[in-house]
């Protein structure tokens, strides 16, 4: 791939991002390629040394905050006519509620994901509490004189402790998984903003 082809491809993959950002990036990567060529690299090698346009675009999109991306997308590309403004105002009960609904869906998705985490940790906490409670109550009961019940309670406490320890690993893994998923979703939403522009 030549430098020009690479930069064109990258521009295509970044379309939808703020124009200034795209220009900045392309200048930066262009300079990097030129410097490699100047050092004696062939153009092909210099380009492949930089990495694939897909990877670079993915990293750039991940770096740009969603708010900035949304602002750029919502910025009107031309001035709206009076009729359009009036229509927009009349239609606001419809599109505004739809927009709010869309945001609510995304938000609820996050809430659902994180409530899973909260609940598994809650189960873990209750097991841990049962373990401590059972052990203390068992010892107290045994001291008071009710030895068989005390031992049963102590045993139950120990079982809970075992479960809590096991669950702790599960909780950690689940939290990691959800964090990863949250990032993926954020990336997916950003991707939507970028793709729309390409389709035009």
């Amino acid at each position: 791939m030549t430098k020009q082809e690479f930069l064109c491809l990258l521009r295509q993959k970044l379309s939808g991002l703020p124009e200034q950002d795209i220009e900045d990036r392309l200048t930066f990567y262009g300079e990097m390629i030129d410097d490699r060529i100047e050092e004696g690299c062939s153009e092909q090698d210099a380009v492949s040394d930089i990495g694939s346009a897909d990877e670079i675009a993915a990293q750039i999109i991940a770096d740009i905050p969603l708010t900035r991306l949304a602002k750029e997308r919502l910025k009107p590309t031309r001035k709206m006519s009076t009729v359009e403004v009036v229509l927009l105002a009349i239609g606001s009960p419809l599109w505004l509620s739809l927009a709010i609904a869309a945001m609510a869906v995304v938000l609820s998705l996050y809430v659902v994901l994180w409530s899973v985490i909260v609940s598994v940790w809650a189960v873990f906490a209750s097991f841990a509490a049962c373990a401590v409670g059972g052990a203390v109550a068992g010892v107290v009961l045994a001291c008071v004189g009710n030895v068989p019940s005390g031992i049963v309670l102590l045993g139950a406490g120990l079982v809970c402790a075992g479960l809590a320890i096991l669950l702790h690993f599960g909780c950690g893994a689940a939290t990691g998984g959800i964090v990863w998923l949250t990032k993926k979703i954020a990336f997916g939403i950003k991707k939507c903003f970028v793709r729309k522009e390409v389709a035009k």
């Binding site: 200048t27 300079e31 030129d34 410097d35 670079i56 770096d63």
Partner: protein, 105 residues
């Protein structure tokens, strides 16, 4: 490595790459290579961050009929390097204390 820690380290690495003389992107990557592998994308993000934090300035210079951006460290950038060195003196002390336990008694 902890992501916040790594971020701080990379920032200081980039500052160190322009500490003694102004430099440009590819040269910085080459200078850092023996110590740390940094991709172009990462370098770009860090340069932007350091620029908005006033730790470096950028100027465009004509070179062989094309433009090249040179980065120059500011007072704030130099101060950040000093701060880093002081912080790490403490960290190294703690490290010595922590790894002392590894030695067989």
């Amino acid at each position: 490595m902890d992501i916040q820690l790594k971020r701080g380290l990379l920032d200081v690495c980039v500052l160190a790459a322009i500490k003694d003389r102004d430099s440009y992107g590819y040269q910085m990557i080459k200078d850092m290579k023996p110590y740390i592998e940094m991709s172009e994308s990462t370098l770009y993000t860090i340069l932007k961050r350091l620029e908005s934090a006033n730790m470096l300035t950028v100027r465009t210079v004509e070179h062989n009929g094309r433009l090249r951006k040179y980065y120059h460290i500011t007072k704030e950038g130099l101060a950040r390097i000093d701060e880093f060195k002081n912080e790490w003196r403490e960290v190294m002390l703690i490290y010595q204390f922590v790894s002392k336990e590894d030695k067989p008694q």
